[in-house]
Amino acid sequence: MRFTIKDEPFAVGYMTSQSDLTAMKIADGFLMEAEELPLSIHEEWKLAGKNIPGKDALGLQGVYFQYGTGIVVQPEILRKKAEEHPECASEYLAILRYFDGKGTQERVLAADTLEENLQRNGQAWYGGHWGGHCNIDFGLFVSEGTDALRAKADRCAFDHPDKKEWYEAVKKSLDAMDVFGARYRELAMTELSVCAPEKKRIYQRIADALCVVPKKPAYDFFSAVQSFLLIYSFDGVDSPGSFDQYMGKYYDEADPLERTEILEALWLYFHDARAWNLCIGGSDEHWMDKTNALSYAILDIAAKTYYNTPNLTLRWHRNTSDDFLRAAAKSIATGTGLPSLYNDEAVCPALEKQGIPPEDSHLYAMNGCNQIDIQGKSHMGLEDGEVCLLKCLEYALFNGMDLVTGLQTSIHTGNAATFATFDEVFSAFEKQVRYAVSQVVRMANTSQRIFAESAPNPLRSALLAGCLESGRDYTAGGALYNHGQILTEGLADTIDSLMCIKHFVFDTKELSLPKLLNMLKNDFAEEEGWRLRLERYPVKFGNDIEEVDALAGKVQRFFFTEMTRYRTWRDPENGIYGGGLSTFQRTARYGRMAGASANGRHASDVLLADSIGATPGKDRNGPTAALCSALQYDHSLATSGFVMQLKFEKRMFNTPEGIENFIQLVKGYFRGGGQMLSVNVLDAEELKDAKLHPEKHENLIVRVGGYSDYFTHLEPGLQDNIIARTIQDV
């Protein structure tokens, strides 16, 4: 079929491909996109980068390719286009027929067994479904250019004659970058001839740079940023990774005024396009500090713009200067929560435990929210799945039945009403977790296979070490490291619930298990007194109380160790599953789908612990106690982000002493082995909410010299004083 339409370039390129190889079809889709996507150069961006839907004329596509979701098919858009353009209707409908049911994620869901489907919908756990973030080697692209990469592909192809066509696909996707750049160059030349004199500089600079990049190596900071943005935007605006490392040398040599202008323009693009994770600082394998002038410039710009994107992360280690943390504090004080702080001393050893050598473990960067990858060398940021531990406890208490849906969703682990010891409860919980992990891994591995079959990415494969060398796509395990990452939610709720069961059912025997199960089933109907006692029982995780913290460590070690027994589909020999704990909006969904829990939480309460810290509001002993509790987890088992969140009043950052205290706190946690800290500024809205719902905010402490009190204990008028003071500070 011959196509005349221009607004479905990926689909048309894919369908008209002369090849039977999926990677080549996708490369043909890339090339046609590069040839036909509408382009514009925004004055304020001052750089050429792919348009952003909503911002300008980049129309909706019925079929497109996205790094994480693979091939996406939206039948309703194709149908609508067919209606609106009857003269081309047959073309749109042909696309629809061809791609219907071929969306990568649809294929993954269709592969679910009935059982897996139930679990996914019950929000107990899920696996796969998402192809993952990745920190590709942007530095290689910028410093070598596509010519050199194509030459490398040719060299490698020589060793793998059976993979010849795949290497051609890689080269074609690099050609697509050249075409994309050349079209932008033409556009810049056109703008140059019509624009106002004061704008000429901007278009001239773009046109000049695009004479050279992306084919040849970048020659200065602007050409490097321009080359980066071409591939970064075309690839789908994922995570730049250690931007200061691969851009630092160009930045150092650039004119100070111009480089600031370029950086600001790029940050605006990041903001408009909602860039993911960008990382600064860090150490090499000898613990030498890699922080450079650009690292500081990035903190400056983050503090100045207070954009909430890109998700900025800072790597700390023993030789990080306190000045760097001071600069970070300035940005954190703006209330964006950025940068997040990572500890090389915890992350690198955790990665090395998985067999990654130090020279590579120190190249880690974050992508997405908090997934950890080795930039340019690994594909581990898939978020292969998630397990809601609280739901596992629910299954343990109800013999595999889902309290919210009423369906038998998990395995039978015994009638809990007959359990005579806490160990029996814990053992049933372990069995449920073990089963959950086995299910998640199975689902994730099916998904990995489907992504490799239907959504290979030859462009990314050119920029991940190992792929060209092995002739394997990055979705099929071509990169050097292919570990898996499974995340969890509701950790503290689970621990607190277990603790309440231990205390009230087995230690003091005030409550029988059958009675507790009944209360949970009925969501504490007519048992508000008991619910409050459970909720207010003070031995809760996050308060540096040994008994409950030890239980927390036991739960986490069990769950995370269990995962390491499994291997990924992408690398059945060395691809180890590891764990992390990220904060996502998904937490609320898990909360909604979880029945009442033994920590006094109502059924479907959306507020679950979304970090490794306490159940929201239950860390009543202040931040150092919360951090001490968090250090009872084994952070060396966490190979994806293990997020600990803290909140402070803005006024802490207002004085040099306050900032020094903040630095001391961070360093204390990191020296104690903590992996990651995310720091937010308390806002007045939270205090207002605390006035209305004190039980959710028992951790808010008002501190004045020589005085402290819980915010929720204050008289309403005095609470208003504090609220007013907080508004004033922010």
Partner: protein
Amino acid sequence: MPQGILFNIQRFSVHDGPGIRTNLFFKGCPLRCAWCHNPEGLSPKPEIAFLASRCTLCGACEQVCPQHVHTLAGNRHLLDRASCVACGKCTDSCGYGALELLGKPYSAEEAVALCKRDLLFYGQSGGVTLTGGEPMLQSAFAATLAKRLHDEGISVCMETSGYAPRAAYETLLPYIDLFLFDIKETCEASHRQYVGVGMEQIQDNLQFLDESGAEIILRCPIVPGINLREDHFRALCNLANRLRNVREIHLEAYHPLGLSKSKRLDKDMPYRNEVPLEREKLIDWQQKMELWTQVPVRVQ
């Protein structure tokens, strides 16, 4: 082994001495400052705080109390505090967080162990601050604690009103790295009226500490209608100028948060001002004071 009564152990205290500190609040105070913001620190004995807003009138406390302190009459919960022995049975029985036992006995071992839990965070500058109440009212316990902490290499600050026997300060002196010495008033008559005692012993102790080479920060609560006067600020400067070891003067703006606590204890505070003193006002005074003294003045 001496035991002490503490009413709070506050980790991550950042306003009471340098760095990140653990505050040990000693129960009991010999003074009666009209504006006291820690009224739970006044009585040396444990006592019960009652948070009326949380009480559901369930009656659990009434049932467990051997002293019949709690009476539920209609929709009111009355406490007969005179008969209370602070046994804590009622606070354990209350599922609603309406009752809290303030003041628990600690051995020095227990208190030191709690302080050591934050060793990771003290760094070079942080440590432990003994405050209250008035730590010197339990000076034997304070001395044991300070020595133990000192031996562990933990910095110890002490906030004190200065109203205690000289001997107590002599004992503590070797173990205290920094005194946060309260100067509440510089006019003798006003001091007697609003603090309840004269200034002589306080000033003598300050003089003694200074001559002994102790590090001192003067902590000066500024309370509208009591000591928010030019002559007071001038006198504070003169005092600091006269002494050799005053490192800084801290002006602490009055805040009414203590009123909330006093209500929970059924204590009437003589000074009932619900309006906090604006920091900005003190910044004006700080600037003036900097003309009158070389000692750095800071507004907390």
